[in-house]
């Protein structure tokens, strides 16, 4: 019964292909935009997740932070080692080398390494008319575990370099391009670094690949861009009186539950800082940021998709309009069918199925078009295309529902026609 109605509806649509296609157009555009938007949203989300993961979602940062006052309400905890305070912690409030080694001993079985970095400020490497801007970052040997550094040649900072306060540096390939335009082997060469009140000479021990979309990406031209120059943390702190740290990063073992671990670290440092009335050390991880970014992106995607879905309603009204025209055109046919014994529901079903076929075919075309658009947009945005299977399924159901909803009125109108009047209709 249903199937015969489907073939019947299909044949009646075939007699007026152009009209059927134009009617479908609204649905096609609506479904295609919803699918495309959701695909792009998904692609962006996974791209952001990947970027954030590159920053290290397995990392937990321990940072010194001012204690909230008793009456402070809803104070936000900064996600990483940022200190929001009017006060500056004194040396005794900071994290000491001993604290770190005690902590390392306590959690030896769950942590891969502890990354410590210290910013040595901006400087310029110069050699006659050649120059390159750098930002100096003192790192320990675990820094490379917590952060992605792609070495092109040479090696990374070793414990020996740190112990010996060595003047060694790992520089970017961009710096090499600027400072050694002849392209000779740079490992082992020395560079002069000009700081506001000193000039130091560093020996290059390694060259890493500058990541355009990495955490330290610069927006300046290749000539003037500032790239990071890694040096031993001890060397960076050599001229600084303060030997303690405001923060450090823990790299957990891959199979550890980061959220749970963050809590354990927090309670450990709560114990360490129990005696300090103004300062505490707080543990945080990037999953929190990841969650926030993901949910924000989801909300935006949903909002835009809803706007696109409105065009589906417009498409549905188009379907209803054409179905009403079709009912009028086929008044006589309806009269004949009723005279031959068609009941109300037979006529209703016939027109409903016709409307549903239009919207479902439109929906299928729309889904394919939307996926294609999603892939295209992903290519342009440079992110991996990502189709949402539930969304495709939902779109299919939705296009069917539109057919049912907007077909109902024309179908009822057809079914209510008086057979005598309908047979007389010219």
């Amino acid at each position: 019964m249903i199937w015969e109605n489907v073939t019947l509806a299909a044949s009646s649509l075939k007699t007026n292909k152009t009209r059927a296609l134009l009617t479908m157009l609204g649905i096609i555009i609506g479904i295609a935009s919803v699918i495309a938007i959701v695909s792009i949203g998904n692609a962006l989300e996974s791209s952001v997740s990947t970027d954030l993961a590159a920053l290290g979602t397995a990392n937990i940062t321990i940072a010194v932070q001012e204690r909230e006052k008793e009456n402070a309400i809803g104070r936000l905890r900064p996600p990483t080692g940022v200190i929001i305070t009017g006060k500056t912690p004194t040396s005794s409030d900071l994290i000491t080398e001993t604290m770190i080694s005690d902590f390392k001993a306590r959690f030896a079985d769950v942590i891969q390494g502890i990354s410590i970095s210290y910013s040595g400020g901006s400087a310029t490497a110069r050699d006659m008319e050649l120059y390159a801007n750098v930002s100096i970052l003192g790192i320990n040997k675990d820094y490379a575990t917590a952060n992605t550094i792609t070495l092109l040649s040479g090696r990374i900072i070793s414990q020996q370099d740190i112990d010996g306060f060595a003047n060694v540096a790992v520089v970017s390939d961009k710096l090499v391009e600027n400072m050694f335009p002849l392209g000779t082997d740079t490992v082992g060469k020395t560079i002069k670094i000009y700081k506001p009140n000193s000039i130091d000479i560093y020996t290059i021990i390694g060259v890493y690949e500058y990541a355009q979309d990495g955490p330290f990406a610069s927006t300046a031209s290749d000539r003037d861009m500032q790239t990071v120059m890694y040096i031993p943390v001890s060397t960076a702190k050599k001229d600084v009186l303060e030997k303690n740290f405001t923060s450090f990063t823990v790299v957990a073992n891959a199979d550890e539950d980061i959220t749970q671990l963050t809590d354990s670290f927090q309670s450990y440092f709560d114990g360490v800082y129990a005696g300090n009335r103004d300062w505490k050390a707080s543990a945080s991880n990037l999953t929190l940021i990841l969650d926030t970014v993901t949910s924000t992106l989801n909300t935006i995607t949903l909002a835009v998709a809803v706007i696109a879905a409105i065009s589906l309603i417009v498409g549905g009204i188009g379907v209803m309009n054409i179905m009403l025209v079709s009912v009028t055109e086929r008044t006589r046919e309806i009269g004949i069918r009723k005279a031959l014994g068609a009941k109300t529901f037979h006529i209703q079903l016939q027109f409903l199925i016709e409307a549903v076929i239009v919207t479902v075919i439109g929906g299928i075309i729309g889904i394919m078009l939307g996926l294609a658009l999603g892939v295209l947009a992903s290519l342009i945005l440079g992110v991996a295309a990502s189709a949402s299977i539930p969304m495709i399924f939902l779109s299919f159901i939705f296009s069917m529902a539109i057919g049912l909803f907007f077909g109902l009125y024309p179908a009822s109108k057809a079914a209510k026609l008086d057979p005598i009047e309908a047979l007389r209709y010219e």
Binding site: M1, E4, L8, S11, S12, T15, R332, E333, G335, I336, R337, K338, A339, L340, G341, A342, K343, T344, H346, P419, I420, L423
Partner: protein
């Protein structure tokens, strides 16, 4: 078998320009009869046809078709009566344009819920009965008027109805084709033993039936047997 008792049909009921189209029509049509209802336009024969064909309900009176009283039925119940007990043949053929001859003949059986294969089988049989076996898959617009009417007659026979109701079946055909269609009705009456009600304003056509009922101003003004002429005609 078909009984009309004091049927009244009024339009615009209660309004000043109320129109009484049928005025206490009483008529009994027996099983197997070939009867003509004649009358000028405006005599009420179309309205009578609609009531006999269960397309419309009488305002007053009793109508019993094949033992079923049809007065207070719902639209869907009337559809069922039409589907099972009435076979229509119209002046303008009224074939569904988008489907072929075979599917047109299948339509009443489709609405009755007969399985596809059985439907197809019977539709083929009926089309060969009316001499259309070579054009079963033709679309209506590929058929001549006479051929369309033959398909319509096959369709009217589909559910073995109690009556076949033919409303000016030759009205849109030339004399020769019209005679062919009339001969087909005769054949169906003779071989299939169907009750046929022919509604026409054409006296010549009416004279080919067994009984002629004349309608004027909503009343039956004549009801005469034509059996002698009919017998003569059918033996020729």
């Amino acid at each position: 078998m078909l009984q009309l008792r004091e049927i009244v049909k009024r339009y615009f009921i209660g309004e000043p320009n109320e129109l009484e189209v049928l005025r206490k029509i009483s008529l009994i049509i027996n099983e197997g009869e070939f009867i003509a209802i004649v009358g000028q336009s405006g005599s009420g024969k179309s309205t009578l046809m609609n009531i006999i064909g269960a397309l419309d309900r009488p305002t007053e009176g009793l109508y019993i078709l094949d033992g079923t009283p049809i007065a207070e039925m719902t639209d869907n119940e009337l559809s069922e009566i039409r589907n099972e007990k009435v076979g229509f043949v119209f002046q303008t053929f009224n074939l569904v344009a988008k489907i072929n001859a075979l599917s047109n003949v299948e339509l009443p059986m489709f609405y009755k819920g007969i399985p596809k294969r059985e439907r197809r089988e019977r539709a083929k049989y009926l089309l060969s009965l009316v001499g259309m076996q070579d054009r079963m898959t033709h679309m209506p617009n590929e058929l001549s008027g006479g051929q369309k009417q033959r398909v319509a007659i096959a369709r009217a026979l589909a559910n073995e109805p109690s009556i076949i109701l033919a409303d000016e079946p030759t009205g849109n055909l030339d004399t020769e084709t019209g005679n062919m269609v009339m001969d087909l009705f005769m054949k169906i009456h003779r071989e299939e033993k169907r009750t046929i009600v022919l509604i026409t304003h054409n006296d010549e056509l009416a004279k080919k039936t067994q009984r002629i009922v004349t309608l004027r101003d909503g009343r039956i003004v004549g009801d005469e047997s034509n059996i002698a002429a009919f017998e003569r005609g059918s033996t020729v």
